[in-house]
């Protein structure tokens, strides 16, 4: 399973790689990282058929997570990638907007990795 993680914080990469170290080693999951919306779109244009899951932060400079979500849902229709939104603030407005734009799930920071693993059916 290939997962694209979009977050402007570079350390997210390290965190994910360490958190999923075992799963990566066992080749049950593969990660790609983008640090802004534009990078994410470029990546998807090249390798979109391989990517099954996108985890995106909402609060990012430049293109926000919600804009990215809108773009993805418009551009990549088949197969439709699963998009999970992540935000530091679990406020209703963000949640409603994400859901309206077609987000498949909504997670709040700090990420509960065991819960995430459960959702990805990795544990």
């Amino acid at each position: 399973m290939k997962i694209l993680v979009v977050d402007d914080e570079q350390d997210v990469q390290t965190l994910f790689l360490q958190k999923f170290r075992k799963e990566i080693r066992e080749q049950r999951v593969e990660f790609a990282f983008a640090f802004n919306g534009k990078e994410a779109l470029t990546y998807l244009e090249q390798l979109h058929h391989e990517t099954v899951l996108i985890l995106s932060d909402i609060n990012m400079p430049g293109m926000s997570g919600l804009e990215l979500l809108q773009n993805i849902k418009e551009k990549f229709e088949s197969p439709p990638p699963v998009v999970m939104m992540i935000t530091a603030y679990g406020d209703e407005e963000n949640y409603n907007q994400a859901m309206k734009l077609g987000a498949d799930d909504f997670l709040t920071k700090p990420l509960d990795f065991s819960q995430l693993k459960e959702k990805l059916k990795l544990s």
Binding site: E9, D11, T14, L15, D91, E93, P110, L111
Partner: protein
Amino acid sequence: MSIEPILVFALLGYLQRMLKSEGIRPDWQDWIKKWLIFAGVLFGAQFVFHIQDITQWFWHLALIALSWFILTQPEFNRIRTMMYAVLPVVIISFLKSLIGKDQEGFLGTIGDLVDIAYPFAIIWLVAMFFINNKQRKALDKERKKREEEEQQARIVAEQKGVLEVMVEERTAELTRQKEELQQTVENLKATQTQLVQSEKMASLGELTAGIAHEIQNPLNFVNNFSEVNTELAAELKFILDKLNVAENVKDELLAITGDIVQNHEKILYHGKRADTIVKSMLQHSRTNNDQKEETDINMLADEYLRLSYHGLRAKDKTFNAIFETDLDPAMGKIMVIPQDIGRVVLNLVNNAFYAVNEKKKTAGADYHPTIWLSTKRILKLAIIKIKDNGNGMPESVKEKIFQPFYTTKPTGKGTGLGLSLSYEIITKGHGGSIVVDSKEGEETCFTIKIPVNS
């Protein structure tokens, strides 16, 4: 034709006018009137019957009697001087009649003298009359002037009285206005203090929320990475166990790994603590999507009181306190955000229980830790009071109590955000007020007032 009857009429008429104008002795006025009539009749009769020789004695007597009367009666003091003008004529004409004409010898000499004196007496009378008249006129003028002055003085006095009343009224009005102004100034001062306070609270709240946002992300990393490290260390331990090295090296490696695990547990524990603080700081700026709904304040307050009590009991078995409620049945349902108001009640009650518990540690056996929760509905105001007989607080603490991060509890026991958040919920969220009253060492009472908009 002699002058005597004319003098009689003049004197009588004069007396009559004088008595009339002064309004005294009406009995005398009657008498004078009768005498005037009688004199008139007699005067007419003497010409008809030619009896001047007889009547002249009557005129003489009448003049002498009148003169005597005027000179002796105190009522006529004022016109006594006039008599000096009349008397010579009266006496000389009397002497003249008494002596008669064409006498010889001594009487003849006297008769001549009297004859000579008579015109002088007449001139004297006329002159005196003019002088008197002049004097009287001057006196009258003087009197009139004095009367006018008196009138003036009376008017002035009256006006002075009126003015004094007016001044008194004005003074009273000014005093009242001054008092009103003083009251207004005091009100303004209180409002200013309140405004400064709420402005401070608002900016502090925003600042707090801003700081929280900035801290949240790095803190997440700290927590996440330390979590990962804990897992990594556990794995390391697992691998070490299987490693083929000398026992003492292995032990040391295992010990270090164990320490790393332990340290990361500590990092995680404190990280979570910070996270809790940041989360409650974020409550300050939380975009409030919670809807106001009709809430039974009595039930809500009671519920959270019990929640707090049982929560504290569960944490600390030795904890105990009496709580009394006095809930106004007229409270009714009011529009509030129930979970927010519940939070405020919980905060205040928790603090109250904490306060009585602290006091219990030092107070004697006859101290009964007690919490009072009361509600009251006064017109369009819902009032919630939470009182405790704990240690109270000094004025210096009271001033800061609603500021974020201000706490008197030991580190780790309180974030200093409970009351600042409560303040925000009540003032900003519900347009109400929250104030604290406290007697150091005796009691603390929080009063919440929420306007009821219906």
